[in-house]
């Protein structure tokens, strides 16, 4: 029992550290990819290929002058970025970062907590994330911040519905809410994306909207709202908001990879490697490769598409994705009934 607690805390710390590290280097990757897609080179002065740029950015964020507006609600003003950061870091707990490693006869799962309602937990925590943005925008006492916060919250709530319904279809086929089990079921190339292509499409579009990434980055639309909900923020509080976006992106990529692209599973790899520990580690590597691909996709789309207009965004969410998600549930049900999975 004691070893279990120690192991879990080490794993939690590792996940925490890796999440922060990847989020940190996502900022670098974002700038590099943006530059490359625009025929530029991007940051390349701090260290070789600009590899130390995130450190320089971090130091800059910490050293900047801290401004809290006189008219703001100071408690809520500080609470906003804290919630944003807290919630996005909490989501990493239920994602299976690999199968399990056996050391001295004890099996250690590479998932911090395989709770049987993992998906519900994920949806719940991400919807708390809305409060971070809403409280921050409200506490700033600035109309641009408030408008940005309103946009963000209505957008996230709208797209959460599409996301939830697309997951329902997935749960119908998998028959479980545990993310660990869903990942394990996809062993041997039975990736859920082949069974739920429409659901995957809806999910990924909603994931873009949930993380406030382009083309759904209306909450921070510079041309209309200055900086959106973080207009009044400076120093590391702004840094927390921006950082939370990158962590969200990382976690969303991990969720997409786990739910639809087999998680740590890779077909045919079992034929070449027999040792289960090595297989687990290679599985984690594969998972991270998939995650990095989706992070790249997030950035690729961002630097391709212009921003949606707000009415277009709402149209797409309520009149496009929501009926499609319901249709997807119906189709899934019918197919399952005909194939005899339910009776």
């Amino acid at each position: 029992m004691q070893t279990e607690i120690i192991y879990k805390s080490i794993l939690a710390l590792a996940v925490f550290g890796i999440t922060l590290f990847i989020a940190m280097y996502s900022t670098y990757a974002e700038r590099k990819i943006a530059a490359f897609l625009q025929d530029r080179l991007g940051p390349n002065r701090a260290g070789p290929f600009g590899i130390l740029q995130p450190l320089a950015d971090g130091v800059k964020m910490f050293m900047k002058e801290e401004m809290i507006p006189e008219v703001s609600n100071k408690f809520l003003f500080i609470l906003g970025p804290s919630i944003a950061m807290l919630t996005c870091l909490m989501t990493g707990a239920v994602i299976p970062w690999g199968s399990s490693i056996t050391i001295a006869g004890n099996e250690y799962s590479l998932q911090v907590a395989d709770i049987n309602i993992g998906i519900l937990y994920l949806l719940g925590v991400t919807s708390v994330g809305v409060y971070g943005i809403m409280i921050g925008g409200w506490a700033s006492n600035n109309k641009f911040s408030l408008l940005g916060a309103i946009r963000a919250s209505s957008q996230m709530i709208s797209y959460e519905i599409g996301m939830g319904l697309s997951i329902i279809a997935l749960i119908m086929t998998t028959g479980t809410l545990s993310i660990g089990e869903i990942a394990a079921q996809q062993h041997g190339g039975h990736w859920n994306v082949f069974y739920q292509p429409l659901g995957f499409l809806i999910f990924i579009v909603c994931a873009f909207a949930e993380t406030n990434r382009a083309p759904f980055d209306l909450p921070e639309c510079e041309s209309e709202l200055v900086g959106g909900y973080h207009t009044e923020y400076s120093s590391m509080k702004l840094g927390f908001y921006l950082f939370a976006e990158y962590i969200n992106m990382f976690i969303s990529s991990a969720v997409i990879a786990t739910l639809y692209f087999g998680g740590y599973n890779m077909p045919f790899i079992g034929r070449f490697i027999q040792d289960p520990n090595a297989l687990a580690i290679i599985g984690s590597v594969f998972l991270f490769c998939k995650i990095f691909f989706f992070i790249f996709l997030f950035m690729w789309v961002r630097w391709t598409l212009p921003r949606f207009r707000y009415d277009q965004l709402m149209n797409l969410g309520w009149k496009g994705l929501l009926p499609l998600a319901i249709l997807n549930i119906a189709i899934t049900g019918i197919v399952m009934w005909f194939t005899g999975k339910i009776n």
């Binding site: 490359f36 897609l37 025929d39 530029r40 499409l201 690729w300 789309v301």
Partner: protein
């Protein structure tokens, strides 16, 4: 009106077709375009290490040339100041004293010669006007500064150094066309006085 290219598209507020309202084909199309740029050669020039090459006839900062013996060629005739459309050039003349033959080529010389680099439009008319082959535009850049006064360049900045190896090369600008143009100028004055 006839269009200049065949790339223009007539746009209107017609309803989107089904394919368009799905968005995805258009998005994939756009992503294919951006990914092509990902692998394309980058346009960036790494400035302090690599400098963009100038055109051979680039018109940058001026130089006042010396002749083969190191004497200033300028005789303060004022033709450059007259030719200057921006009125950037001023000068005062002085008479050469005995013993200064090494410094100034002819009896009259410019005791001060100033070009206001903020007024100058780098047209090169001064170069064309000069009968003594004294002023030339070079491929050097006028450096930035924070004080307007410092942009008025005097002789200390304009006249090229005396040393043989520190002379400013202006031969790149002397293309065939330029030399042809200069043939018409009165070259007798320009010959070295024996």
């Amino acid at each position: 009106m006839q269009s200049l290219t065949n790339r223009s598209k007539v746009v209107g507020s017609t309803k989107m077709t089904l394919m368009e309202s799905i968005y995805l084909p258009a998005i994939l199309n756009g992503m294919m375009i951006t990914i092509k740029h990902f692998f394309r050669k980058k346009a960036t020039i790494q400035y302090p290490e690599v400098k963009r090459e100038f055109a051979p006839v680039y018109r940058g900062m001026h130089v006042l040339k010396r002749d083969e013996n190191g004497a200033e060629r300028c005789t303060a005739c004022g033709l450059c100041a007259v030719a200057c459309p921006a009125e950037a050039i001023t000068m005062t003349s002085a008479e050469r004293k005995p013993g200064e033959e090494k410094l100034f080529r002819e009896e009259k010389y410019a005791s001060t010669y100033e070009i206001n680099m903020l007024r100058c439009i780098f047209c090169g008319d001064c170069e064309d006007a000069c009968p003594k082959e004294s002023i030339f535009l070079t491929d050097r850049l006028v450096p930035s500064d924070s004080l307007r006064q410092r942009f008025v360049y005097g002789k200390d900045l304009l006249v090229e150094p005396m040393e043989e190896n520190k002379r400013i090369d202006i031969s790149k600008r002397q293309t065939k066309e330029v030399l042809e143009f200069k043939k018409n100028k009165e070259l007798q004055h320009n010959k070295l006085i024996e």
